[in-house]
Symmetry: C2
Subunit: 160 residues, 2 copies
DNA sequence: TCGAATAGTTGAGACTGTCAATCATTGATA
DNA sequence: TATCAATGATTGACAGTCTCAACTATTCGA
């Protein structure tokens, strides 16, 4: 019998809060599910992008995942240490190193993907299939449009 | 210019990933906006709940925000140190201390709420008003249904 | 009354977000 | 072509967050 706070909680109208809260729930479920293959959700996302592309530069990974380049280094180190990815020098630009999945990496990815999907199922239990589709499309727009922050740069500035 | 990874990125179909990514975007925008009043989004959420309820136990706060009780302690400490909330002993249970807003706290909350709404506006720029409403409803269901998972889910319904 | 459960607190360890600085390489240009 | 700015990767640092375990004070039930 958790005592439900009486007042009207404005946070429940705040999409920013709701995003953070539901993300927290999903991450927790996913980490729980991925524990069986010894991965965390961050490493899983890197492995996924590596497998889907067959090899992706750390810079592109950083852009795509919205993480600082230094975080990519640590994640790649760990995945490499466990033999799931390799750093392959890009012949066309010797500065970049392509994060490339190994066979073991692809195998682990297949397993972890199933686990991640089961976790997602749990997080989104309150929604119907149609609603999940709608949610996915809306979030995809937020992510793909917002993440490319071109030099449009209005006068407001100060961002980032 | 930005080299778009070639392969089909399955992460963009993963609602869990999309939630984490869009939450990250929203939190960044909100923290930027709240910087002008010297708050971070976590402190803002505590202050908001305190103001909306007029006084809420740390335990209820912990449940509502999905945070560990020890995190509430730190957040309340900081808000209290800055004179925005007080810890008022609950006469009906001397174990609990109600996190209660001060006048200054209510004032700062009003300002920060406007800032947070502006940030939300920025994060959700790709969506129409209708779509934002849909997103809010879907996320609210995920949060309010999923967050209560006591062993006995006897207390269903109620939520509107 | 006694023991289990609860509210709050403290402390620790791992993970995350953000910055600044460094090195090698690339690309543009005088 | 020599040079310099920009870029990709890396390291290190520091604050913030998540998750536990342990502890005290208080409440509640048998």
């Amino acid at each position: 019998m958790s005592k439900r706070p009486a007042g009207r909680l404005e946070l429940l109208d705040d999409v920013g809060y709701l995003l953070a809260r539901s993300s927290g729930i999903a991450v927790r479920h996913t980490n729980d599910a991925l524990a069986e293959v010894g991965l965390r959700v961050r490493q899983y996302s890197v492995l996924s992008a590596a497998c889907d592309t067959g090899g992706i530069s750390q810079r592109a990974l950083s852009d795509f995942l919205g993480l600082d380049p230094s975080q990519i280094v640590a994640l790649a180190d760990e995945l490499q240490r466990r033999g799931l990815v390799e750093r392959v020098p890009d012949p066309r630009d010797r500065r970049t190193r392509l994060i490339t999945p190994t066979d073991a990496g692809r195998q682990v990815y297949a397993q972890s993907k199933a686990a991640a999907e089961a976790a997602s199922e749990r997080s989104l239990a309150p929604l119907t299939d149609d609603e999940r589709g709608i949610l996915r499309e809306l979030l995809r727009r937020v992510v793909t449009v917002t993440s490319r922050e071109p030099a449009v740069a209005s006068e407001a500035s100060s961002a980032r």
